[in-house]
C-alpha cells in the first residue's frame, strides 16, 4: 500500500512542478519525476507479498514470484522517458538560443 502512496506522491509532485514552475529546466525535471512516479506505480502493481525475482532456474518452480509483466512495461516506459527527456533538453538548448531566456512565461509568441 505504501508503495502506491509513494508512487502517487511522486506523480503529484511531478505534476505540481510541471504546472507551476517557470523555468524550463525545472519543468523538465518535473517531467522526469512524473515519469519516475508512474514507473514506480506500475511496478508496485505487480508486487506480490514476499515474492522473489521472477526468474526461472532449477529448483525454483514452487517459489512465490512477483509479476514479471509490469517489469517489462516499466523497462519500456523508462526508455521512452529517457528519449523524451533527451529530445526535450535539445529543444531547450535551441529555445535558449532563440529567446535568450528559459522563462516559460516569456516564451509566448505563439498565442491566440
Amino acid at each position: 500500500m505504501i508503495y502506491y502512496i509513494g508512487a502517487f506522491g511522486l506523480v503529484f509532485i511531478g505534476l505540481y512542478i510541471m504546472l507551476t514552475k517557470r523555468n524550463l529546466i525545472k519543468v523538465l525535471i518535473g517531467l522526469n519525476i512524473l515519469d519516475t512516479g508512474v514507473n514506480l506505480f506500475l511496478i508496485s502493481i505487480g508486487y506480490v507479498g514476499k515474492g522473489t525475482a521472477p526468474i526461472f532456474s532449477r529448483g525454483s518452480e514452487q517459489v512465490l514470484m512477483v509479476d514479471p509483466v509490469p517489469q517489462a512495461l516499466v523497462l519500456t516506459a523508462i526508455v521512452i522517458g529517457v528519449a523524451v527527456l533527451a529530445l526535450a533538453l535539445s529543444l531547450a538548448i535551441m529555445l535558449h538560443k532563440h529567446y535568450g531566456t528559459l522563462n516559460l512565461r516569456k516564451v509566448k509568441e505563439q498565442r491566440w
Binding site: 505534476l15 510541471m18 504546472l19 507551476t20 517557470r22 519543468v27 516559460l104 512565461r105 516564451v107 509566448k108 509568441e109 505563439q110 498565442r111 491566440w112
Partner: protein, 618 residues
C-alpha cells in the same frame, strides 16, 4: 427519352464549354449558346409527361429520384429559356472581360443545378442541387471584384444559414417517415400532428424565405444583385430567387398538402393568412425603398423583393385564382425582370459601366430597341393591360377582393403605385430627357443583345394578349394540387364575377389607337424638333445643366425616407459584429503560456473523475 439526359447535358455541357474555352473563345461562345438552347428544346420534349425514375443509388444506397410533372416542367422551361437568353446576351457583354471561361462555366452550372432542383423527386438530391446552386451563384456574384466581394459574402452566409433549416427539416421528416422520397413523405405526413406540421413548415419557410428574399430575410439581395455581372443578375433575379417559390409550392402543396396547410392555425389567424401578411409587408416596404435608389440595378433589385411579395400572397392565399395568379406572376416576373436587367445591362455596356440614374439621360434616340425593351418591361411590371403582368396582377387583385381581404388588397395596390413611380423614374432617367454631352457617341446595343431583349418583349406581349397559353398549364398545376379548376380560355379566365378576356381588351385598344391616329392625321399639324430643343421660357437652354433627373422625387423621398431605414439589415449587422467580437474573445483561451495549457489538462481530468463519481452517486 430519359430524364437523365437533361442533367447529363446540362452538367456535361458546362464542363465541356470550359474546356473548349481553353482552345478558342469563339467556339466556346457558340457551344454555350448551343447547349443552353438545346436544353430548352430537350425540356419541351417532356411537355405533358409524368415521369419518375431512380437515376442513381451510389449515395449510401439512398434512391435518388428524378421526376417531371406539370409543375416541374413549367419551372424547367422558364429556367432553360432564361438561361439561354442570358447566355446569348453575355456573348457581347462579356467580350472584353477576362476570365470568361470561368464565367460561362458557372453560368451553365447554375443553370444545370436549378434544373436539377426542379427535377428532383427526393429531398436529398433536392438539397444537393440547392447547395450546388448556392455556391456556384456565390462564385459568380463575387466575380466583379470590389464591392461585389462583400455582397457575395453576405449572400453566402445567409444562404448557408437557410440551408441549416432546410437540412433540419429534411432530416426531421426522414426520422419520422423513414424516407426521403417526396410522394412517400406526402402520404405519410397526412397523419401527423399539427405541431409537427407547423415545425416542418417553419423550418422550410425560413430556408426558402431566405432564398426568396421574403421580408425579414431580404437584406442580401440588393447588394448581391446589383454587384453581380449583369446577365447573371438577370438570372439571379429572374429565376434563382424563384427557386424559393418553387420550394414554397413544394412544401405547401406537394408535401404537406392543401388541406393540412390551409387548415393550420387557430381561429381567425390561420397560418396562411399570416404568410399573406408577410407577403404584404414584402410588397410595400421594398417597393418604396426601390423608389429612392439612384443606382439602376439597385432599384431593380429592390423591386425583385417587392414582386416576390405578390407571389407569396398568391401562393399562400389558398384559392385557385390566387394560386394561378401567384404562379403566373412568378413566370411573368421572370420574364420582365430579366428583360429589365438586360436592358439596363445594354445601357451599362454602351456607356462603359454607368448605372447611376442621376447621370444618364436621353438615350432614347441612340438606343431605340433597348428603349422598347425597357418600356415593355416597365409596363409589364406595373401591370398595364396588354402585357402579361396585367393578367397575373388582375388574378391576385381579384382573389383578394373576392375573399374580402381588404387590407391585403390595399397593400397590393400601394405596391403597384410605388412600382409605377419607380419605373417612371427608371425609364425617364435613362432614356427620356436630355442627352448629356458625354454620351453623344453612344451606339446602339449590339445584335446579340437586341435579340434576347426583343424575344422577351415579344413573349410578354404575346402572353399579355393570349394569356390562355400559360394559364392552361398553370391550371393543370392548380388542379394537381387539389384546387378547383379555373375556366380558362385562350383570351383569359371566365369566372362568376366577370371575365377577363384580353382579346377584347386588345380589340378595344387597337380600335382606340386607330381612331387617335386618324384624328392626328386629320387634325393639328405637328412640327418635328430635335431632342435638345427644350422649352426655356424664351432663353436659350444650356444642354448640360438642364437635366432634371437628379434627385427625382426629392420632396417625396424626404418625406418617406426616415420610415424606410432598413432596421432588419441593421439587426443582422449587429448580430454579425457581436458574433465576431465573441469569437475574438473565445480565441483568447489559448493564452500562449504552456503552464496554463497543462492546467487545462489536469482540470479536465479532475472534472472527468469528479463527474463520473457524481453520476453514480446521484
Amino acid at each position: 427519352m430519359n430524364l437523365e439526359i437533361l442533367l447529363i447535358a446540362a452538367f456535361g455541357g458546362s464542363f465541356l464549354t470550359y474546356f473548349l474555352g481553353k482552345f478558342s473563345h469563339k467556339v466556346r461562345d457558340g457551344f454555350a449558346v448551343f447547349i443552353s438552347s438545346a436544353l430548352v428544346v430537350l425540356v419541351t420534349f417532356f411537355y405533358d409527361k409524368q415521369v419518375s425514375i431512380n437515376y442513381y443509388s451510389g449515395f449510401f444506397d439512398l434512391p435518388f429520384i428524378l421526376r417531371i410533372n406539370t409543375l416541374s416542367w413549367f419551372f424547367a422551361i422558364t429556367i432553360a429559356g432564361l438561361g439561354a437568353l442570358s447566355i446569348a446576351f453575355s456573348l457581347s457583354y462579356m467580350k472584353e472581360r477576362k476570365g470568361t471561361n470561368f464565367y460561362y462555366l458557372i453560368m451553365l452550372l447554375v443553370n444545370a443545378s436549378m434544373l436539377g432542383i426542379v427535377l428532383s423527386g427526393d429531398l436529398v438530391s433536392f438539397y444537393i442541387f440547392w447547395e450546388i446552386m448556392s455556391w456556384t451563384a456565390f462564385l459568380l456574384i463575387s466575380y466583379n471584384r470590389g464591392p461585389a466581394i462583400a455582397a457575395g459574402m453576405k449572400y453566402i452566409v445567409m444562404s448557408l444559414a437557410g440551408s441549416i433549416f432546410m437540412l433540419i427539416g429534411i432530416f426531421s421528416l426522414y426520422a419520422n417517415y423513414g424516407t426521403f422520397i417526396i410522394p412517400e413523405i406526402g402520404a405519410g405526413i397526412a397523419s401527423a400532428s399539427s405541431g409537427f406540421i407547423l415545425f416542418i413548415l417553419i423550418m422550410f419557410i425560413i430556408a426558402f424565405g431566405i432564398k426568396n428574399a421574403v421580408w425579414p430575410f431580404h437584406t442580401w439581395l440588393p447588394p448581391a444583385h446589383s454587384e453581380a455581372p449583369s446577365p447573371f443578375s438577370a438570372v439571379l433575379s429572374g429565376i434563382l430567387i424563384k427557386m424559393g417559390s418553387y420550394g414554397f409550392l413544394l412544401i405547401f402543396y406537394v408535401i404537406v398538402g392543401m388541406n393540412l396547410f390551409l387548415g393550420l392555425g387557430l381561429g381567425r389567424f390561420s397560418f396562411n393568412y399570416i404568410l399573406c401578411w408577410v407577403g404584404a409587408i414584402t410588397i410595400v416596404i421594398p417597393t418604396f425603398t426601390a423608389m429612392l435608389q439612384n443606382d439602376a440595378k439597385k432599384l431593380l433589385a429592390w423591386h425583385s423583393i417587392g414582386q416576390m411579395g405578390y407571389i407569396i400572397i398568391g401562393i399562400s392565399l389558398g384559392t385557385s385564382l390566387g394560386l394561378a395568379g401567384g404562379i403566373f406572376h412568378f413566370f411573368n416576373h421572370a420574364l420582365f425582370k430579366a428583360l429589365l436587367f438586360l436592358t439596363v445591362a445594354a445601357v451599362e455596356y454602351r456607356t462603359r459601366g454607368v448605372r447611376d440614374l442621376n447621370s444618364l439621360g436621353g438615350l432614347v434616340k441612340k438606343m431605340p430597341v433597348t428603349f422598347i425593351g425597357v418600356l415593355v418591361g416597365a409596363l409589364a411590371i406595373i401591370g398595364v393591360p396588354l402585357t402579361s403582368g396585367f393578367v397575373s396582377k388582375w388574378l391576385i387583385y381579384k382573389t383578394l377582393i373576392l375573399d374580402g381581404y381588404s387590407f391585403l388588397a390595399f397593400a397590393a395596390f400601394i405596391g403597384t403605385w410605388g412600382t409605377l413611380l419607380s419605373f417612371y423614374k427608371l425609364v425617364h432617367n435613362m432614356f427620356l430627357g436630355q442627352l448629356p454631352e458625354k454620351y453623344k457617341d453612344v451606339k446602339k446595343a449590339p445584335l446579340s443583345m437586341q435579340v434576347p431583349i426583343l424575344i422577351l418583349s415579344g413573349v410578354i406581349l404575346l402572353f399579355g394578349i393570349l394569356p390562355g397559353i400559360p394559364l392552361k398549364v398553370i391550371n393543370e398545376i392548380g388542379t394537381s394540387f387539389g384546387f378547383e379548376s379555373l375556366n380558362v380560355n385562350i383570351g383569359g379566365i371566365a369566372s362568376e364575377t366577370g371575365t377577363l378576356n384580353t382579346i377584347n381588351i386588345l380589340a378595344v385598344i387597337a380600335v382606340a389607337a386607330i381612331l387617335i391616329w386618324l384624328f392626328l392625321r386629320a387634325g393639328a399639324k405637328s412640327r418635328r424638333v430635335t431632342q435638345e430643343d427644350s422649352y426655356g421660357a424664351g432663353l436659350s437652354v444650356p444642354t448640360d445643366k438642364y437635366h432634371y433627373t437628379v434627385e427625382f422625387y426629392d420632396p417625396f423621398s424626404r418625406m418617406i425616407k426616415p420610415y424606410l431605414r432598413d432596421v432588419i439589415d441593421d439587426f443582422y449587422n449587429w448580430i454579425a459584429k457581436g458574433a465576431q467580437k465573441t469569437f475574438d474573445h473565445i480565441r483568447h483561451l489559448y493564452t500562449g503560456d504552456v503552464g496554463h495549457y497543462a492546467i487545462y489538462i489536469i482540470l479536465f481530468l479532475a472534472f472527468l473523475i469528479l463527474a463520473s463519481f457524481g453520476w453514480f452517486l446521484l
